[in-house]
Symmetry: C2
Subunit: 227 residues, 2 copies
DNA sequence: GCGGTCCGATCGATCGATCGATAGAGTCAC
DNA sequence: GTGACTCTATCGATCGATCGATCGGACCGC
């Protein structure tokens, strides 16, 4: 009853099974949530039996922690690149925002799981994922602080502005529709402009980082542990 | 074995059982999600047996739709009041933002369920809740349009700005901590200022609507179907 | 024949939902 | 007033289905 085993193939899923499982989990969890999808449906989506699933993963929660950590590590990696390759608070913030928006628009399923399923994690795993999230947000915090110190940003409550901006940009994954009326670059540049307004940096020249960020997202998300 | 039936009481839960059930559902669902809490735990939290639960409600999903619709109807009611009692796009938007932020900060559990469990609803129920959400957002859309038409707001993509602002303000329910360093009125006024920046209305005088909105929220959320 | 892959069968637990039964308060005929 | 009857509120027990997870063994390339 299986479909692809025959004819000299190296064995159906020997390579990439873990990846297929993670991809299936992201597809289903992003639509209905961690507790809304059972092991059997997960297995079916990945093209395996539920027993085989457990050959590759630990518990269901282990799989979620894995998916979330991988997603967050990629975000951190991308933010690190931005920080290395863009100097000055203004250009750096501009690139961070466009990167965040593009990531959430291009990979809405991954980011929805990363942003929304923390509550399904218990104890230590929760803490580990939260510290990864904090590590990512540190790039935003540092850039905002830098801009305030240099006078490039004029904002009274930087902590609140950071949270507000992150919520605003993360929300893109909840409403952006590739088939809709708004082009991706409009959304990314538009949010960069809104961010500059929020931070009181309207004189900032808004460089279009869409293509560069798109390349970065593509590179990082097809890289090690890719997909 | 029951506890409160004697001594002239009108019977333990005869009044308010539905309300107790909804409150229990909000408490548990806001922490672990609709699919993360079973009927038995729900019943225990409400102080009833799972069988008795079904005397008051339809299915579990009916209860969710009820909770969500009630929350959204309150939001709509509050937005309608704001629109009636504040004239001009600037003051109106200022009040709408402060109302939204206060509602999400004062009733984070209700709003988290309303904002985050739509995916657990199927078919018609989903549509009904979505149209209530659209009805609420229409107040924001109309106010932004009005401000653009009058020249009070200078924003290029009003649709995107509306979505960005809503995400930003809704996010308050995800991070605001009453015991934290930020006072509620700082958060509300701060978001009003960020909104005025986003909308390009920096010359707008930011009236403090915190007390008025707090009263409105208290009135509406303790009113019919209260809690 | 060994190690890596894979699955059918099955585990105990829990899921959402329903059953029949009971306790008590109100109603009404007589 | 009192017995028969109804209505609401409540529960213990239980339904069939599904949950997450495990086990033993089959298959297959090396």
């Amino acid at each position: 009853m299986r479909t692809g085993t025959g004819a000299g193939m190296p064995q159906r899923g020997a390579v990439g099974a873990e990846e297929r499982i993670r991809a299936a989990a992201v597809r289903l969890w992003s639509e209905r949530g961690f507790h809304g999808v059972g092991i059997r449906e997960l297995a079916e989506e990945a093209g395996l039996s539920s027993a085989t699933l457990y050959h590759y993963m630990g518990t269901k929660e282990d799989l979620l922690a894995d998916v979330m950590s991988r997603g967050l590590r990629r975000l951190v990696l991308a933010a690190e690149r931005v920080t290395q390759q863009r100097a000055g608070a203004g250009p750096r913030m501009n690139a961070l925002v466009q990167l965040h928006v593009l990531t959430h628009a291009l990979r809405p399923r991954e980011t929805r799981v990363v942003d929304g399923e923390l509550r399904a994690l218990s104890g230590d795993r929760r803490g580990g994922v939260m510290s990864l999230r904090d590590e990512y947000e540190r790039y935003w915090r540092a850039t905002i602080d830098e801009g305030r110190a240099s006078g490039a940003f004029r904002v009274e409550a930087p902590g609140m502005a950071r949270l507000a901006l992150l919520e605003m940009c993360t929300g893109v994954a909840r409403w952006y529709d590739p088939g809709g009326p708004m082009a991706l670059s409009e959304v990314a540049l538009g949010h960069a402009q809104l961010a500059s307004r929020v931070l009181g940096a309207e004189e900032l020249e808004l460089v279009d980082e869409v293509d560069w960020c798109r390349g970065l997202v593509g590179e990082i998300w097809s890289g090690p542990g890719g997909g």
